[in-house]
Symmetry: C2
Amino acid sequence: MIQMNIKTKDKNKLENETENQDDQVSQLRQDIASGDWVVIATGRAKRPDDFAKFERVKDDKGIDQCLFEDPVTSGQEKDVLIYTDKDGHWSLRVFPNKFPAVSSAVIAKAISEGPYFSMPGVGFHEIVVTRDHFKQLALMNVLEVAEVFDAFQERYLDLMNKKNVSYIAIFHNHGKEVGASIPHPHSQIIAIPVVAPYVKLELDGAQLYHKSNQHCVYCVMSEYESDCEKRVVFENEEFIAFCPFASRSAFEVWVMPKKHSPYFERITDTEKIKLAEVFSKSLNAIYTALNDPPYNFYIHTAPCDGKDYPYFHWHIEILPHTAIWAGFELETGIEISTIQPEVAAEYLRKQISNR
Amino acid sequence: MIQMNIKTKDKNKLENETENQDDQVSQLRQDIASGDWVVIATGRAKRPDDFAKFERVKDDKGIDQCLFEDPVTSGQEKDVLIYTDKDGHWSLRVFPNKFPAVSSAVIAKAISEGPYFSMPGVGFHEIVVTRDHFKQLALMNVLEVAEVFDAFQERYLDLMNKKNVSYIAIFHNHGKEVGASIPHPHSQIIAIPVVAPYVKLELDGAQLYHKSNQHCVYCVMSEYESDCEKRVVFENEEFIAFCPFASRSAFEVWVMPKKHSPYFERITDTEKIKLAEVFSKSLNAIYTALNDPPYNFYIHTAPCDGKDYPYFHWHIEILPHTAIWAGFELETGIEISTIQPEVAAEYLRKQISNR
C-alpha cells in the first residue's frame, strides 16, 4: 500500500483547501483501504446530465427464446436452490452454470511448468435467476431485493464449507456492454480456491490501517461519510450508500454496513431488509440518473479460507459503466473519472428525493 | 504477492501433467511476477478463427476534420518535439494534450480531507502523432516504428528530470472501443507524481522473486519461453515476443529485452531497431490474425523516482481487446481468457510465416 505522509491539520482549514482544488485541472485521490489512486479529471469534467446518454439495453432475442425464462425446459442444470411465492410459483432459483469458468469435477492439484504455477480450475459456478424477465434489480421492491440477498447468503453458507473454496465471488452484470450475455436478470456466484487479488489488496490495506490506527478503515470511512454527508446517496440506521472519495468510475456507489462486520454471510434477516432498502434506493437512483445504464455490482467480503479477518469490513461496490478502460488505466491501474464523487452523489440524491 | 507452495518435481513428469490438463474445464494460472491469477477457460474455448470478427475501426469524421492531421492549424499546443523526413516534412511530432489528465500548471501539495488523501493532478500529458493518418503502427515498417520509440525515449529522458515526476506512462490506444477518441494514429505520455499501482505490483513481485531465487523473474521467463518455444510469437538476438503463460486476455503479447535492463530509457539505437523488428512483427500478426482489432499497448519500466530498481526488467504489454471486463473480473481482478496462450501464439506465428 502506498500511503501519503501528511500531518493532521486544522479541520476547517483543510476543508477550505479542498474546496479550492475544485477549479484545478484534476485531482489525484487515494483509496485509503486498497492504496489505489484515481484521477478526478475535472478539467475534462462533464455535467451530471451528460452521462445520461445510454440507450436502454435491448433484449434482442426476446422472451420466447430466453434460456432463463423456464430454466428446466431450456436444459439448465438441476436447481440447487428454489424459492416459491405464496401461489407455489418459483420466484428465484439457483442452478449450476452450464458453461462454468470453474468446475467441481476436477481435482485440485498444483501443477508446475518450468518457472510457472497453475492448477485446474476447481470450484463452483452458479446462476441466480429471478422470475420476471422484465424486472431488473433496480426496479424491484425492498422485499424482492432482500430475497436475492437471501439466496446469496444461503448459497454462500453452503459453498463456504466445500473443499478447496477460499473465496466466493458474488456479482451481477446488467447490460450486454458489461458482460450480461443473457438479458434475463441474473446474478452469478463463483467459488474459487484462491483469494481474489483485488480483495487481497483491500485485506492488506485494512490490516495495515488497523495496525497503524487501531480502527477499521471502513468504519472510519462510513462514519466520516455519514457525518460530512456530501457523498452520501442514502442511509438508514444500519447501512450507508455513498460515492467513494476515490471513485474509480463516475457514479460509483459503495453500500456498507455501519456496524463492523467482516463477513457478509453473517448478516441477519433484519439487517437484510435494511440493506435491501439502501441498495435498491441507490440502484434505482443510478437507473434514473443515467437512463438505465449498464452496470456491475459485487460483494467484497472476507475470504472463507479458514483464517480470521477481524480488521475487514464487507461491502458492496456498484460500478455503472460510464467510461472505457484505455491504455493509461491498463498500464497504471489508475482510473480517470470525469465527475467529482461529490457532484455525482448530489445528483443521485436528487433522484431519490424527486420520487 | 500470493505464491503457491509447490515442491519441485521431475520436469518431464510435470510437463506430462500439464498436457493432461488441456481437456479439463479450465485452468487457474499465476503470473509469477505480479502474483495475479487468471482463468484459462478452455471449457468455453473458441478456435483462434472465432476471434477474427472485429469490424475495422471506422474513422467517422474523416481526414478533413482530423485534429491531428495538421496539429498547428487545428489549434493544438506548441510542439515539444518534431522529427522531419529528408524532404523537410514532419514525420512525427509531440505536443501537450489540450485536455490533460494532469497538468504542470498546478502546485504539488498533499491535501487531506478527514481520513482521506489527495493531491492536485500535477504532471505532464503529451501526444505523440505520426504523419500518416491511415498508417497505423501495425502497418509501419521497422524504421518507422523505431522512430516512434525514439520519440518515446527522447521525451522520457526530458520528463524524468522534471519536478514531481515519479512514473512516466507511455501507451497507445487503437480503436474507439479501447479509448482512441481521435482515429489518427497517436500515442500518449503521462508523467505522474506517484508510482503506478500495477507497476508497483510487478516491482514488489520481481523484488520478492529476486530475493528468493537470486534471479530476475523476467530473465527467467524470457529464457524459459525462448527455450520451450510454444508461446513465442517472434524473437531475434535482442528481443522476444511471447503470449504470457498467465495471459489476461486472448492474444495478449509481451515484448521483452533478452538482456536484463530495468530502464526502457537506456535502450541503445541498435537495440531500438531490434525492438522495432520484434514489436512490429508481433503487432502485424495480431492485426492480421484478428482482422484489425482494437488494442492497447504500454511500456512497463522502472519508476524515475530517484530510487534504484535493479531487480526489475522493462517490457511492453500488448492487449488486444477481445473480451469484456464483467463483474467477476471487476470483483476479483482475475481475468477469464477463452483461449490458451499456447494456441494463440501458434496462430500468431502462422501469420508471420505466411507473409
